[in-house]
Symmetry: C2
Subunit: 325 residues, 2 copies
């Protein structure tokens, strides 16, 4: 198995991506990692035996989706192209999401039958301690009912491959739990999903229940999924700020923090975005994983781990088969 890594994409620099690649390599020495980026920053990795593909340019994090295509020498474009041209199993980047989506859409072929690729990620389920898979979180704006049905299938395969859930419970994101609630495309998808024997469809889920309900997969149009993702991140971040404030209030509360620190460290670990490892662009003919923009070594190694698991479980082949049925 070959996994291609864009080494220049993280806000935290090549120190983080190099350490992350090495962490992954220690766990899985049998997997070939191809590192893409500036020779002067990656020569130590080359000396350690990693294959180096040179790229002289680095994309900015706020890079627009269209500009990227003019930056042919950038590490992201080179990494995705190398993956496509050499039939590698997976590509991982922590760079700009917009750039990653547009470059992947152009350079990695779509799986036959897939109408629209979807960006897929795991959220922690704070009730069960497990994970809930959400798609699309931003590859599209609005999706058709038929696209949503395909997302339900992709999400099922992802949940099986990454989270090890045999028959994942799939729900549509909606403004109400009852049938008949939701966006126009959601209501139409509901009717199509009811008739699918290959999807364990359980109806609608309200956004307030995503983190604490029993859904394994949440299906939504990309714009709404993006609002769900970012609202949740925003609320979690805001509350973390309030917790800090509460503990800093007085000398007593600071002692209170020391006494309850273990529990709050566990909480922090549960919410750590690095634990989800990033988002998969599902529906293209390679595993394409977008790590968090501010990936440190642990985050980047987890993103590679997600790519590895998806490739190892043959998610591309499973999806090709499902689309062919």
């Amino acid at each position: 198995m070959k996994i291609v890594l864009d080494m220049m994409g993280s806000d935290k620099g090549t120190q983080a991506t190099k350490e992350g690649a090495r962490l992954f390599h220690e766990r899985h020495p049998e997997i070939e990692l191809i590192v893409v980026g500036k020779k002067e920053e990656l020569s130590d990795m080359e000396a350690e035996g990693f294959r180096l593909v040179e790229a002289s340019d680095v994309l900015e994090m706020d890079m627009g989706a269209l500009e990227v295509l003019r930056r042919k020498e950038s590490s992201m474009v080179k990494a995705i192209e190398y993956c496509a041209e050499n039939g590698c199993d997976a590509v991982v980047s922590a760079g700009s999401t917009g750039a990653f989506l547009s470059c992947s859409a152009l350079r990695l072929k779509k799986i036959e039958g897939v109408k629209r690729p979807a960006l897929v990620t795991n959220f922690p389920n704070l009730k069960t301690g497990g994970q809930v898979t959400i798609l699309d979180i931003g590859a599209s704006i609005r999706n058709t009912a038929e696209e949503l049905v395909q997302f339900a299938l992709m999400g099922t395969l992802y949940s099986q491959a990454v989270n090890g859930i045999k028959s994942p419970k799939v729900r549509l994101l909606s403004n109400g739990a009852e049938e008949g609630k939701g966006s126009e495309e959601g209501k139409a998808a509901y009717q199509l999903l009811k008739g699918r024997a290959d999807i364990n469809f359980q109806g609608n889920e309200e956004p307030s229940k995503v983190l604490t309900g029993d859904s394994d997969v949440i299906v939504t149009s990309g714009y709404d999924g993006n609002v769900l993702l970012k609202s949740t991140e925003g609320a979690a971040k805001a509350m973390s700020g309030l917790i800090k404030k509460a503990f800093k209030r007085s000398l007593l509360s600071k002692i209170g923090y020391l006494l309850s620190k273990k529990g709050f460290d566990e909480m922090k670990a549960t919410l750590d975005p690095r634990s989800t490892g990033g988002a998969l662009l599902c529906g293209v003919r390679s595993v394409a994983v977008k790590g968090h923009g501010n990936s440190d070594a642990l985050g980047f190694s987890n993103a590679i781990e997600v790519a590895y698991r998806l490739a190892n479980k043959g998610i591309v082949e499973s999806l090709e088969k499902a689309m062919g049925d």
Copy 2:
């Protein structure tokens, strides 16, 4: 000023609404409150001098938007009709949102020029300690660019009246901060808003920044606003659960809780949904406020307080004037 109260709508029963009405009455004895509901449950209020309008029926909380219109004897329908027919200043209910929206839309006339009423609420801004106004949070599914521009105007008037902000900063909810990002209707609204001298338009806001940025008003289509609202509520609730778990972890952490309790009580107060008092249906010719379904006495009195402030500041007249310009 006359405010009509649906006394039967709260999950917590008439004990809560009666206590809430009395709390408000103590603060504002000059305001006439009309209490609508079952005579046998409200006879004590009648004895205290409140005007009683009898209603023999009570709507269920999961009442659909259409069924409500057949329930003419219900307290919600009677309250809204009484408000409309007697030219009262405001009506307040803690009953089903769907029922409240459809009944208000039919019985309360729209302000001339308003394309679609919007459901408006305040969120706590966890950075400034102030409030951020969000609309639409669910009166519509998708809105046109022209409707979004009207929402920006309504939100400005609401922020001025309820939050006392002179020139509220208005932003469009979007999947990216830059111009050119967003839903189709959002992008079109962006162009229209740039040219408005009467709105302090500041561009896009990502959902992750709503609670911690410097926006005073966030404008969005109803479905996306509903996702924002419920995702935030869900994340806050899930984190509250994690905080409890962290403190319950051991004897030491329980002592830690006791030492830092004051700070966490302040945090709880900041996040208390009762403090926002409910949501205004903006764009109709009375002040129509929907309180939280599980309003207790404090929550219901705050919902009446919001209705009072909006009526007192003449939000309906301001909006009529703005629409006429």
